[in-house]
């Protein structure tokens, strides 16, 4: 009995406008069931197959968490050891939250940091450099008050694996995880991948043609979102968790470590009680949720593609779905839920319709809505205090780095980590900024010193904290 029907998958891909997808269903005692449909490239000349390489984005977090788990298993660290004790030359003050953070805290998203995505998106700095400076980013919550999904503490965890093991994170992962699991086709970052025909390029259907989406450089965020893999390897990955730490019958890590990784331990902020349980809980690299009365351990990934890995430990069944759909596409959940439901012998459930309703309800783009609200308090008849040329220059924030502001075609432009923003005068010294990649914008303010020189710009790059201050340095 197959878990999935190819024709059904093809219909769903059509319905949700997905070009290429690979899925594996893993069940104890039987061979994994693979389906690869559609094509990997926009031209449609390469069909997906078992070797098609997908960015697995945030599924990478479980690999980093397991790396830490392996160090715990070896007795080199404890889950609840203070990280600072294993990083004696750490560049921070003792009163920083970091002085109290444990390895568990880093992996449970509960140190109080919000996303701060623009801190690392497209950054060309090394993840080691980003990890050290991240300690000084502004927090939104008191330490361990609530858990909030983000990427930065996974950088720190990856960085610490290097510090403690003496190997680079890649080498460590290769030797301790990927090789023992025979995940030989799993690699790091997009360098050299994009040009390969077997690479599944994120794309969307626009006006009847498939257009490749812009790719984000994830080299700076490898331990949180940088792995690239194929569906064969992901089948081995799920099998390893179903076998509670074993690969081909050999113990890679003690099952206690696996248990610890998948156990729900922290409640995400904004958690709203569902029908099946009071919480979805963060494990380490995994999220624990209820799926039709079963405890499902799951994670999704949505950078440069769209993917999901999940398994139900009690039922020894799991699934991985890799696709080149855009990040907001629900296809992976629909396919995964269908596979799990059918494996568990549950009544079919109309997941696709459910997600269609949900997607429809989200409605208007959030940032478009914000723009409309802003219009209501815009003061009319004002102008910038200075000539536009005086705003141009280089600005610096100690964590986020440099922003370059230039005058182009009579307006201001800004660029951070190669991502460009269009600035439009709003009122007084406030400008409305729009990310050229779409989906992000807000109001920034310039400030001048008492000698009348433009001194700084305040930008809400992380909406959860106060505007970030960039001082003009040139």
């Amino acid at each position: 009995m197959m878990a999935l029907d190819r024709k059904w998958i093809a219909r769903e891909m059509d319905r949700w406008k997905v070009r290429g997808l690979s899925v594996v269903t893993v069940r104890e005692g039987s061979e994994p069931e693979f389906h690869c449909l559609g094509s990997s490239d926009p031209a449609g000349s390469h069909g997906t197959n078992l070797e098609t390489r997908y960015p697995i984005a945030s599924l990478s977090k479980a690999f980093t968490a397991l790396s830490v788990g392996i160090l715990v298993d070896r007795g080199e660290i404890g889950w609840d050891d203070k990280v600072a004790d294993h990083w004696p030359d750490a560049p921070f003050e003792s009163q920083a939250w970091f002085a109290h953070a444990t390895f568990r805290d880093l992996l449970l998203h509960r140190v109080g940091l919000p996303l701060h995505n623009l801190y690392w998106v497209n950054s060309t700095r090394s993840f080691q450099a980003l990890a050290s400076d991240a300690v000084f980013l502004t927090k939104t919550r008191s330490f361990r008050e609530r858990a909030r999904y983000q990427n930065i503490t996974y950088l720190l965890a990856g960085y610490l694996v290097e510090k403690i093991s003496g190997l680079s994170w890649r080498e460590f992962l290769r030797k301790s995880v990927l090789d023992p699991l025979a995940m030989t086709r799993t690699g790091f970052g997009l360098k050299g991948e994009v040009s390969k025909p077997s690479f599944a390029r994120a794309q969307s259907l626009e006006g009847g043609t498939w257009k490749p989406a812009g790719l984000l450089n994830v080299d700076s965020i490898l331990p949180a979102a940088g792995l690239v893999s194929n569906i064969t390897d992901m089948g081995a990955w799920i099998g390893f968790f179903l076998d509670r730490g074993k690969a081909s019958g050999k113990t890679v890590v003690d099952e206690k470590i696996v248990h610890e990784l998948i156990q729900p331990q922290a409640i995400p902020e904004g958690n709203s009680p569902g029908k099946e349980g009071p919480v979805s809980g963060f494990g380490m690299g995994w999220v624990s949720e209820m799926f039709r009365g079963h405890h499902l351990v799951c994670h999704t990934g949505a950078t440069n593609g769209n993917c999901l890995a999940g398994f139900i430990p009690d039922k020894k069944t799991g699934v991985a779905v890799l696709s080149n759909a855009l990040p907001d596409n629900p296809i992976c959940r629909i396919v995964a839920y269908q596979a799990l439901g059918s494996t568990l012998g549950l009544e079919p459930f109309p997941w696709s319709d459910t997600f269609r309703e949900k997607t429809a309800r989200i409605g208007e783009d959030y940032f478009e809505g914000q723009k409309k609200i802003r219009r209501t308090y815009r003061k009319t008849g004002t102008r910038p205090s200075h000539d536009l040329a005086e705003y141009a220059g280089e600005y610096r924030n100690p964590q986020y780095g440099k922003i370059e502001i230039t005058v182009q075609r009579g307006g201001l432009r800004a660029a951070l980590n190669g991502i460009r923003y269009h600035l439009e005068h709003f009122h007084f010294d406030q400008f409305e900024f729009d990310c050229e990649m779409g989906g992000f914008g807000g109001l920034l303010s310039f400030h001048y010193d008492n000698l009348g020189r433009i001194q700084s710009v305040l930008i809400p790059l992380e909406p959860a904290v106060d505007d970030l201050c960039f001082l003009k340095i040139k």
Binding site: H100, D105, Q265
Partner: protein
Amino acid sequence: MMSIDLKEMESWLAEFVSGQQELWGIPGAAVAVLLDSEPYLTRYSGTASKTSGQPVTAQTLFPISSCTKGMTATALALLAEEGLLDWERPIRHTIPEFRMADPFASENMTALDLLCHRSGLPNHNFAWANSRFGYRDVLSRLPHIKPSQGFRSTWQYQNLVFTVAGCLIERLSGRPWETFMREELLSPLGMDQVRFGIEREGLPISETFLSAGHTAIAVPPLDIQSIAPAGSLLATLEDLEHWLKFNLDNDGSTLSQKGLEYLWEPRVIVPLQSAYPERSTQCVGLGWVVEHYRGERIIWHDGAINGCAFVGFIPAKGCGVAVLGNKTFDSRFCKAVAFQIFESFLGDGSIHWPEILLKEASQEAKDQAEGLRGIQVDHERHKRPKTSPSHDLEEYTGVYEDMGYGEIRIEKKDGGLRVDLNGLGFTLSHYHYDVFELRSEVLPFLGLGTFQTDVFGNISGVLLPLEPKAAPIEFRKKTKGNG
């Protein structure tokens, strides 16, 4: 509206509760069921006092112990709504002398932390059971109570920390905890029969019974004034009907619905996997446990000191249950009754909670006995032969003190030593050198206590592992002999 036949339900409940009393050995019990947010059924049965032969009535006061927590938490919510309390502001801003053993916790602890059992402290039950401290003394004792986990790192049930909520209410409102509770919460809700535990004389309070073989014997209640805001209230079934009605059908005149539901938000995951697919992972909110049963959210708490109690409700269904019993140290009778009632509303009756809980109880007893045997075997294995105490037994006697736990008295008894901790007895029998085996006279507790000698050669203190999860408690010797 649920389609349940009142007559049928009434006779089912009567028979079921009597059967459960029999099964769990509960001399007297009271049960209330609310449907559509209104009192629907009550059941009183058995004896409140064997001494006087008084039956359980609508006026019988039962110790509701930890069911008090939801009420104290609600009192804080009232202060938050008035703008006097900021849930996420460190307590130090209001109580400057507030301290924990961990300075990081001292600085960062908030009202939320007080109520959701994540302070880093384990139970430390012997620090408050029968203690003669008042609840306000918790502020001077807490800095000396040892943590076993990092601040906010995990769930550990804790009464002393919860007690600080009472102090916070007093500082913020300018009224003692009891007065504030009475004036702002209990009276407005019509919970007029509630008593604060210290008032006992002449009141129709149920006796406390303890299992003794196949019977239940009346025992003096434990003094729990030292954790009053966490567990000292006495209430009648009628009071709890008012309380459930308020939680199910809040008219907003005392507290907004938003303020009420803030208490039900899951905040900390109880790190125990649910053994039953129908029940989800348990979480704690503020003064409440939050879980899902057959897809519905249940908010509940139980209590098991000086009696047993359960208060729980299903907000989406307008259904509530209160169960009171007078046997102490185990709330499984109450849970069996309450969850079977929930099962009859939410399920098809295919789950039999009494059976499940009975099995759980016997497993727990077995595990406990095995645990003790394991410790015993360990002790035998490590015992150094042919050693003796360094001093005459007489020199070990006297009054000892720990700043967190208070005073203990050590006396000679039956050729060994006996510890009196707030009227709770422990024996100390020589193990090796200056190490003694510490055994509770009533509870399944076994550990090793070590006496210390100072540079002058006098017995100066004793380390007792009264909280096995934390470092041993260091009692310093205050006086010699009986002094």
